[in-house]
């Protein structure tokens, strides 16, 4: 099983490394977005009740979420491609355990997410980010970021396996982006003026994931934010992995 997982993860990493389009956007695009927002929305820090001294400290949490969305698309598209090409049937003919395929594929995607998270942190510190939670907080932030990426990657795996279509997986991208924008991505929830927007952001689980990541940077160790952030990420990851496993069982039929 360990060998199977390792080899499947290795394949996933190789697939990613050989498609620059899967590496550059998850790293560069969120940083560009952050730079634009930080430049354009810095005046938001003057709002009464705004929790950070600079918009960079507030916005640096967003790239971690955007990275998770790319993990979702990459994992889903890779598995959908395996269904489309018949590669999944080849795997089904081997003694490989189903779990190895899923863990390996997600593991490869997580490795890319880890590298992306480290780059975001390096860029953040280079740009003057004030990190409140200290060195242990950096490790905890990375763990939370990986959990969030795992939840989204597993969700993508579910869609890819269920649909067996790369186009369908890509079609989910705008939907996930809407979820991100209708969250506390740009402003703290209490400062969102429109009631409907604040209502959606309050019930949008993405808000709590972002706020969990953000809390390490702005507040240090905020028990409530971390409990909600880790809680939503863990529940989301568990539910998505269960759904992906079920889809894999249906797709990888063998007697």
């Amino acid at each position: 099983m360990r060998t199977q997982i390792y080899e499947m993860a290795r394949r996933s990493v190789l697939q990613t490394l050989r498609q620059p389009a899967l590496i550059i956007p998850p790293i560069v695009f969120p940083l560009i977005m952050m730079a634009i927002n930080t430049g354009g929305l810095n005046a938001a820090t003057n709002l009464p009740g705004f929790p950070a001294d600079t918009y960079l400290d507030f916005a640096i949490a967003v790239p971690f979420m955007q990275c998770a969305l790319f993990a979702c698309i990459n994992a889903g598209a890779a598995l959908a491609r395996d269904v489309e090409t018949g590669f999944l049937k080849r795997l089904a003919m081997t003694p490989m355990q189903r779990a190895a395929l899923l863990i390996g594929q997600l593991g490869g995607v997580m490795l890319v997410a880890l590298v992306s998270a480290l780059i975001y942190l390096v860029v953040g510190f280079a740009a003057g980010m004030d990190f409140e939670a200290g060195p242990a907080g950096i490790l905890a932030l990375i763990v939370l970021a990986l959990l969030i990426s795992l939840a989204f990657a597993a969700l993508g795996a579910f869609v890819g396996l269920r649909s067996g279509s790369g186009e369908t997986v890509q079609g989910f991208f705008p939907l996930f982006f809407v979820l991100l924008f209708l969250s506390s991505m740009s402003l703290p929830r209490p400062l969102i003026e429109q009631d409907w927007f604040r209502f959606i952001a309050t019930y949008n689980p993405v808000s709590y994931m972002i706020e969990g990541v953000r809390s390490f940077i702005i507040f240090g160790w905020d028990g409530e934010a971390l409990a909600l952030g880790f809680g939503v990420a863990i529940i989301g990851a568990a539910a998505a992995i269960a759904a992906a496993s079920s889809a894999l069982r249906t797709r990888l039929v063998r007697t």
Partner: protein, 326 residues
Amino acid sequence: MQILPNGIEVEGLVRDFKGGVRAVDGIDLSVEPGEIYGFLGPNGAGKSTTVLMLTTLLPPTSGTARVAGHDIVKEGAQVRMAIGAALQEAALDGLLTGREHMRLQTALQGIPKHERQQRGDDLLERVGLTDAADRKVRGYSGGMKRRLDLALALVHHPRILFLDEPTTGLDPQSRADMWQEVARLAHEDGVTVFLTTQYLEEADALADRIAIIDHGKIVARGTPASLKAEIGRPTLEVEPAEQSERDAVDEVLRRFGAPVTARPGAVAVRLTGAVDQLPGVIRALDAESLTVTDFRLHAPTLDDVFLAKTGRKLESEDREAEAVPA
């Protein structure tokens, strides 16, 4: 049911799909160890569905089958350990190299770590892909992909090999290379080969025995020679020396058989009897003082067998299928 350790025994195998479509309709088969068994039929006849069931990737609706002595439903894992398969489309990852495919497959098949690289290299050499081993598969030709697919199916030394239309879409040279390798596997290594094909010449050239499937049912089975002998009526084609004598030659030939289509300038009949009619034909032509420039006897083909069993010609169906734009 007799259990053959390296063989395949199938009884009453059925597979229904949604909408009431019965793709495989109660087929019986017996494949002997070490033989190449050709499974011949047009597109949609049920060949691939049968292969998917025998390789444990599709549960049958009813019926039983034992592959390498193991029940395909109750002992799927044991079946998979004993078989290799190259399914209809060469299921490869275009982003990996040939060598990386071998590494992945040897690891997943449980080959000991210290043997994996050597096994992979040996198989790549065997299928002539050593020089291309470190190139990404998306740059391979169709024939190279098929050969890699075959090599991957062999990594765990399978006793039975399923090849589902292994030469579809290949150029003549690649097809000949594949035939040579399949024959070597069966005749030198003793691997039992279950080969589906829609190419008559492929079944004729490779298979020790064949079964013809049409609309999910087996309509004929036997050796290619015995099936052709069953049809038994050769075609005689004669080209008169003078085209003005064509009608006269035609009249003589009709005494010995029913007219069939001939190449331009020639006259042909399917003989009512066997080859022993030929002296009579020659004497009759001589008696009418007719001279000929070409005199050809065509033995029955598997297409004739298919025509006799189904009322349709397989080759024309293939051509029609190939003519349909993708």
